[in-house]
């Protein structure tokens, strides 16, 4: 399979705090890559660098072989191709679910509401939210809000989806419905990178798991290898703590 997204030597600091210390990572087309690691190890920052929400200090990011990390490059076309879903949903509270989903396709891709309606309805139906389309975010449960956030990102028809601990803020009984959505997307062949604490889920579905430690990918590999026979002491310690 061809490499879709390729990071090499990516560095990112906030002031004196170096959060990514030379990250090399290849994500193949249709692959699901899981980032695991302790809180503060740099998972969120790495994801935000991938769709240029944070400019990187050094290294390169290639999307389909094109360098998208060139300083001064217009990030907007890249962000259309790489969707992201956040831990705290970040829905727009003053818009209904449908308006949340339609805003970017309307403004960025210039599509009309009518043109969007069939596809948006289909997405809501597929993720079990057809009855909730005209609800405002505060009328939805956490799990429903998170699914709307996923639909909102999908409505831009991205080629890659990034998920930043999207189940961490959810009540345990709502986690399942959101993970189902991810399973569904994976089956459809979406290229995905997830920061996650759901080890069971990573083990079940990931093609590749990367253990982040203090801004470095300390160890990566298929889940069977990484979870059962980790090489590094720190990986072992981390897994012993979370599993």
């Amino acid at each position: 399979m061809s490499v879709k997204l390729s990071l090499s030597g990516v560095r990112k600091s906030f002031g004196a705090n170096e959060v990514c210390r030379g990250i090399d990572l290849d994500v193949a087309e249709g692959e699901m890559v899981c980032l695991i690691g302790a809180s503060g190890s740099g998972k969120s920052t790495l994801l935000r660098c991938m769709n240029l929400l944070e400019p990187i200090d050094d290294g390169t990011i290639h999307l389909d072989g094109v360098d998208i990390s060139e300083p001064g490059l217009d990030p907007q076309p890249v962000r259309q191709k790489i969707g992201i879903v956040f831990q705290s949903y970040n829905l727009f509270p003053h818009m209904t679910a449908t308006e949340n989903v339609m805003l970017a396709p309307r403004r960025v891709r210039g599509l009309s509401r009518d043109a969007l309606r069939p596809r948006v309805t289909e997405l809501f139906t597929r993720f079990g939210l057809k009855e909730r389309m005209e609800h405002y975010p505060d009328q939805l449960s956490g799990g429903q809000q998170q699914r709307v956030a996923i639909i909102r990102a999908l409505a831009m028809e991205p080629e890659i989806m990034l998920f930043d601990e999207i189940t961490s803020a959810l009540d345990p009984e709502l986690v399942g419905e959101v993970l189902d959505v991810l399973r569904d997307l994976h089956r459809q062949g979406m290229t995905m990178v997830l920061a996650t604490h759901e080890m069971g889920f990573a083990r079940e579905l990931a093609d590749k798991v990367c253990f982040l430690d203090a801004g470095r990918i300390l160890e990566q590999g298929p889940p069977d290898t990484l979870f059962t026979a980790p090489q590094e002491e720190r990986t072992k310690a981390f897994l012993a703590r979370v599993i």
Binding site: P75, Q80, N90, L103, R107
Partner: protein
């Protein structure tokens, strides 16, 4: 609260009060009684004591003269219409100018830096001056240039003075609203590929403006009162009309009438703004 009424009120009969409810009702009743007694004694003291003051009869005649009040009140109401009109055309101009200035101050693009500078200077200057001074300078200064009709009208320049001053305050309020919108909302918009402009227009501003409605209402209540300052440069609105009546009847009662008219409008408006503010604070918790 919801669950107690659920499991107790199932049969349709009102649920028996819980021990806690009985206790709280008792506390409330006692508090109300104390408040009533203390208020009544203060009012009584005022009613009894004030008329005992040596000058009370003179004050009563000068400020609370029923005959003068009846004769001037309709005229005052009519003059107040002019206040309302000046307010009505100033308010939208102020809202628009305030929004424009807020956006100027918020620009990040270096090409628009002069706009940002302008926004900062504008708000600093007009918040730093007494309203009445701006009204004098503009209201007397510009027509002093000897402009032809209608450009010498005090209405135009008075309105301009109000717009200049009040839009500076409104701009600051809107800007605080913009600042109050969490960065994650901008991140979400940016991640969808929205431009900065669309992010501001569709994501940040609608939320920001909603958040500052109560604060802006308080500004517009203040504006309604400050319209009276235009009387210094000509328009015969209620304050000036009251002055005319005062000279005519050699009596201050028309000012009291004018005060009552202002209060009839501003007290409900202030209460409403407070109510909105409280509601918002509750919702934010």
């Amino acid at each position: 609260m919801a669950d107690t009424s659920l499991d107790k009120g199932a049969g349709g009969a009102p649920p028996a009060p819980t021990r806690r409810e009985v206790y709280e009702a008792g506390v409330r009743k006692r508090a109300n009684r104390i408040a009533l007694i203390s208020t009544a004694s203060v009012v009584l003291a005022l009613v009894v004591l004030i008329p005992l003051a040596p000058g009370w009869e003179d004050v009563k005649r000068a400020f609370f003269n029923g005959r003068v009040f009846a004769a001037t009140f309709p005229g005052l109401l009519e003059a107040f219409l002019l206040n309302v009109m000046i307010f009505a055309w100033s308010a939208p101009l102020i809202a628009l100018t305030g929004l424009a200035i807020a956006l100027c101050r918020d620009t990040r693009s270096p090409a628009l830096f002069p706009l940002k500078l302008f926004g900062i200077a504008y708000t600093d200057i007009f918040r730093g001056l007494p309203v009445v001074l701006v009204i004098y300078i503009i209201g007397f200064g510009i027509p002093g240039l000897g402009l032809p009709r209608p450009w010498n009208s005090p209405y135009i320049w008075g309105t301009l003075a109000l717009v200049l001053v009040y839009s500076a305050y409104v701009a600051e309020v809107i800007r605080s609203g913009i600042d109050s919108i969490h960065q994650s909302q901008r991140s979400a918009a940016a991640s969808l590929g929205l431009s900065e402009r669309d992010t501001m227009r569709y994501v940040v501003l609608p939320q920001a403006i909603r958040n500052v409605v109560p604060a802006n209402m308080n500004l517009f209540i203040a504006l309604q009162k400050d319209v009276a300052l235009l009387s210094f440069i000509g328009p015969v609105e209620i304050f000036r009309q009251a002055g005319v009546y005062k000279s005519l009847y050699a009596n201050f009662t028309p000012y009291v009438g004018a005060a009552l008219i202002f209060l009839a409008l501003t007290i409900p408006a202030t209460r409403y703004a407070d109510y909105l503010m409280n509601k918002q604070n509750l919702a934010r918790r």
